[in-house]
C-alpha cells in the first residue's frame, strides 16, 4: 500500500505540470490526430488525478467517476475522433489562424492569467493553487482553440478541453458533484459529440469543406 500512497501524493503534486504541458503542446500541434492524442493524454492525467483524489479522500464514489472518465475520455472519444477523421477524408491540418509561436505565447499568457484569476479564491477554498490554475487554464485554452482553429473537428476538441477544465475545477473544489449528476453530464457530452459528428458530415456534404470560418452566409 505504501507504493500507492506515494504514487497518489506524486500525482497530486505534479498533475498540474503535466496539464500545463499538454495545453502548450496543443498550441503547437498542427495535425488533428496529434491534437486528439494530446487530448487523450490530458484526459489520462485527469483520470490519474481523479483516482488519487479518491484514494486520498477515501471516497468510493469517485472511483466510478474515474472509471467513466477513463472509458469515455481516454478510450471512446479519441477513437471516435480517429474514425471521424477517416470517414470524413479531410486534410489533417487544423487550419490555425495563429502561427505555432504565437499560439504558445498566447497559451502561456492564458496560464499566467489563470494564476492571477485564482489567487484570491485558492486560499479561501483550501485548494492547491496550481491545480485550480490548471483547471482555469484548460477552460481558457479550450476557448482559444475553438476560436483560433477553423476546422469543425477542432472546435469539438476545444469544447472537450474546456469541459476537462470544468470537470477538474469541480473535482478539486468539491471532490466532484453527486454521482447521478456526473453521469448525466457525461451522457450530455456523449450525445453532444454524436450530434456534432452528424453535423460535420452535413457540413461536408452541403459545403464540400470543413472550414467553419467559411460558414458566413447568415449575417446581421
Amino acid at each position: 500500500m505504501g507504493l500507492v500512497a506515494i504514487a497518489t501524493s506524486k500525482i497530486l503534486s505534479s498533475f498540474s505540470v503535466f496539464l500545463f504541458l499538454s495545453i502548450l503542446l496543443l498550441a503547437v500541434a498542427r495535425r488533428i490526430s496529434t491534437n486528439v492524442l494530446l487530448f487523450g493524454v490530458q484526459s489520462a492525467v485527469i483520470t490519474a488525478e481523479v483516482f488519487a483524489t479518491g484514494f486520498q479522500e477515501k471516497l468510493a464514489e469517485i472511483y466510478v467517476v474515474a472509471a467513466m472518465v477513463f472509458v469515455i475520455k481516454v478510450m471512446l472519444i479519441p477513437r471516435a475522433f480517429f474514425v471521424l477523421t477517416k470517414k470524413l477524408k479531410t486534410v489533417h491540418d487544423v487550419k490555425a489562424s495563429t502561427t505555432p509561436t504565437q499560439s504558445v505565447f498566447i497559451v502561456a499568457f492564458l496560464i499566467y492569467l489563470s494564476y492571477a484569476a485564482v489567487q484570491s479564491y485558492g486560499q479561501e477554498v483550501r485548494v492547491p493553487e496550481d491545480g485550480l490554475a490548471a483547471a482555469v487554464a484548460l477552460i481558457l485554452t479550450g476557448a482559444f482553440l475553438m476560436v483560433s482553429r477553423r476546422k469543425a473537428l477542432m472546435q469539438m476538441l476545444g469544447l472537450l478541453v474546456m469541459e476537462n477544465g470544468i470537470f477538474l475545477a469541480a473535482l478539486l473544489t468539491t471532490f466532484g458533484m453527486p454521482l447521478v449528476i456526473e453521469i448525466g453530464i457525461f451522457f450530455d457530452i456523449l450525445v453532444g459529440l454524436l450530434l456534432m459528428g452528424i453535423f460535420t458530415f452535413r457540413i461536408r456534404d452541403t459545403f464540400d469543406h470543413l472550414d467553419v470560418s467559411k460558414l458566413r452566409r447568415l449575417r446581421g
Binding site: S120, I181, D188, I203, F207, L218
Partner: protein
C-alpha cells in the same frame, strides 16, 4: 406519479412516433400524444394549486413557479402541434426530413423542457438545459440546406459553450453551499439552497462569481445581447413550428432557470448585485435588438430579434424586481410566447404561399393573403405593446415599477426602444401589406388548422389585454410566492 407520467408521455411518444412512416397517421398519433401530455400538464398545474408542492423522489418537484411555466409550455405546445399538422404537408420525404422524425424530435425537445421545469436539483436542470440544445439542434438543421446546417452547427456550438459556463457557475454555487455546511447530497437541491441561503451570506464573492457565470451561461440560451448570435439564425432556418417553440418555450425555460438562481443569490446576499446584472443585460438586449429590428430584411429574422428584445424586457422586469416588476415579467413570458407564436405562424404561411421570407420581395400582401395579413397585423400590434393586447399590461406593470423605484435611465431607454420598435414594425408592415402584389400566392385562404390556432392566439392576446383571467392571477400569485 403524475410528474413521472408527464415526463413519460413525451419520451415514449418520441420513440413510438418513429414506428409510423405514414405522414397522416403520424400526424394523428402526434396530436393524440400531445393531447394526453397537455392533459397531464394541466393536472399537475391543478394539483400544485391545491396541494402546494408536488415532490417525486429526490430529483423532481413542481411548485407554483414550475406550474406557471408548465401551463405556458402546454398552451404554446398545443398551438404548435395543431399548426404543424397543417404545416407538414409541404415537407418532402427525405431520409430524416419526414413527419415521424419531426414529431419524434419535437416530443424529445418537449420532454427536456418539461424536465427543466420539474427539476428539483440544479444539476439535473443543467443536464436537461443542455438536453434542450441537443434535442433541438437537429430540428434547427431539419431542412438540411446550407443555411440550416450552418444555423444548426452555430446553435450547437454557441449554446454548448454558453451552457458550459452555466455548469461552472453551478459548481461554484455548489462549492459555496458545501462550504457553508449544506450536506453535499442536498447542495444542489433548490429548496435546501433557498433555506440555506441566509447562511451563505459570508461567501458573497463566491456567490457573485457563480451568478456571473450562470447569467452568461443561461443568458446565451435566453439570447441576451452579446451572446445572442445563434438566435436569429436558428429561428430563421428552423421549420416554422420549431421557431415558435424556440421563441415561445425554450427561451422561457432558460429564463426560468435563471430565475431560480437569481432567487437563491438574492436571498443570500441581497438583490443588489444579481438584479443590477439582470438590468444591464436586459437593457442591452432590448436596445441593441430594438435597433437591429429596423434593418432586418427577412421576416423571421425580424421576429427573432423581437424575441431578443422581449427577453430583454423580461430581464428588466426581474431586474427592477418588486411585486409589480416580477408580476409583469412572469406575465410577459406568457404574453410574449403567445404573440410570437401568432407571428411565426403568419410568417410560416407567408413562406409557404409566396415562397420567400425576404421582405423586399413581398408587397401587396393585404390583397393576396388577406387572412394571413390580418394575423400579422394583430400579432405585430400586440408585440409592439399597444393597448388592447396582453403585452401592454405586462410592459406597463414593469414600467410603472421602474418608475416607482425612480430608475429613470432604465425607463427612458425602455420607452425609446419601444417607440423605435414600433416604428420598425410599422415600416416593415407597410412595405409588406401595401403596394402592388409581386407574386401570386399558392392559395390565399387559410386551412382550418391554421385559422384555429391563429384565432385562439389572437383571442388570448385580447383577453389578457382586457383582464388577466382569474386562473392566471391565482397562478401568478403562487409563482411569486415561491420566489419570495
Amino acid at each position: 406519479m403524475i410528474l413521472l407520467s408527464s415526463l413519460a408521455i413525451p419520451l415514449l411518444g418520441a420513440g413510438l412516433m418513429l414506428g409510423f412512416a405514414n405522414a397522416k397517421i403520424a400526424t394523428r398519433l402526434a396530436l393524440l400524444i400531445g393531447a394526453a401530455e397537455i392533459a397531464s400538464l394541466g393536472a399537475i398545474v391543478w394539483q400544485v394549486h391545491i396541494r402546494g408542492v408536488l415532490q417525486e423522489g429526490r430529483y423532481l418537484r413542481a411548485d407554483g413557479l414550475s406550474a406557471f411555466f408548465l401551463l405556458s409550455i402546454a398552451f404554446v405546445f398545443g398551438l404548435v402541434l395543431v399548426y404543424s399538422s397543417g404545416y407538414l404537408r409541404h415537407m418532402g420525404e427525405g431520409r430524416f426530413t419526414s413527419a415521424r422524425w419531426f414529431y419524434s424530435l419535437v416530443f424529445l425537445f418537449l420532454f427536456t423542457m418539461i424536465t427543466v421545469c420539474l427539476s428539483a436539483n440544479l444539476g439535473l436542470m443543467w443536464i436537461m438545459m443542455e438536453g434542450t440544445t441537443l434535442a433541438s439542434a437537429l430540428l434547427v438543421g431539419f431542412y438540411n440546406t446550407e443555411g440550416a446546417v450552418e444555423a444548426g452547427w452555430k446553435y450547437l456550438m454557441v449554446c454548448t459553450v454558453g451552457i458550459a459556463f452555466a455548469l461552472f457557475g453551478t459548481i461554484v454555487l455548489y462549492l459555496a453551499a458545501v462550504k457553508d455546511g449544506v450536506k453535499s447530497a442536498d447542495a444542489l437541491d433548490w429548496l435546501s439552497l433557498m433555506t440555506a441561503a441566509p447562511r451563505m451570506a459570508g461567501d458573497g464573492h463566491l456567490l457573485k462569481l457563480a451568478f456571473v457565470f450562470v447569467i452568461v451561461g443561461y443568458g446565451t440560451k435566453i439570447g441576451f445581447v452579446p451572446m445572442h448570435s445563434w438566435l436569429p439564425d436558428a429561428h430563421t432556418e428552423a421549420p416554422t413550428p420549431i421557431s415558435a417553440l424556440l421563441s415561445g418555450v425554450l427561451l422561457n425555460c432558460a429564463m426560468y432557470a435563471l430565475m431560480r438562481y437569481d432567487a437563491i443569490i438574492s436571498h443570500a446576499i441581497g438583490s443588489g448585485f444579481p438584479h443590477a446584472l439582470l438590468l444591464i443585460f436586459g437593457v442591452m438586449s432590448m436596445v441593441v435588438a430594438g435597433l437591429l429590428i429596423l434593418v432586418q430584411r427577412n421576416l423571421k429574422r425580424l421576429m427573432a430579434y423581437s424575441s431578443v428584445e422581449h427577453m430583454g424586457i423580461i430581464a428588466i422586469g426581474l431586474g427592477v424586481g418588486g411585486p409589480l416588476g416580477l408580476w409583469g415579467a412572469l406575465l410577459h413570458t406568457f404574453n410574449h410566447s403567445v404573440a410570437k407564436s401568432l407571428l411565426f405562424f403568419s410568417a410560416g404561411n407567408v413562406r409557404h404561399n409566396l415562397g420567400t421570407l425576404r421582405m423586399d420581395g413581398i408587397s401587396g400582401m393585404s390583397r393576396t393573403l388577406p387572412q394571413t395579413s390580418a394575423a400579422l397585423v394583430v400579432g405585430s400590434l400586440a408585440i409592439v405593446g399597444l393597448p388592447p393586447f396582453g403585452l401592454f399590461i405586462s410592459e406597463f406593470a414593469i414600467l410603472s415599477e421602474a418608475f416607482t423605484q425612480a430608475r429613470y435611465l432604465v425607463v427612458t431607454l425602455f420607452l425609446i426602444t419601444l417607440s423605435v420598435v414600433f416604428g420598425g414594425f410599422a415600416h416593415h408592415l407597410f412595405k409588406l401589406l401595401c403596394g402592388q402584389p409581386v407574386r401570386q400566392p399558392e392559395r390565399s385562404r387559410l386551412i382550418p388548422s391554421e385559422y384555429t390556432v391563429m384565432g385562439i392566439a389572437a383571442f388570448c392576446l385580447l383577453l389578457f389585454g382586457a383582464r388577466v383571467p382569474y386562473v392566471f392571477r391565482v397562478l401568478l400569485q403562487d409563482a411569486m410566492a415561491v420566489l419570495r
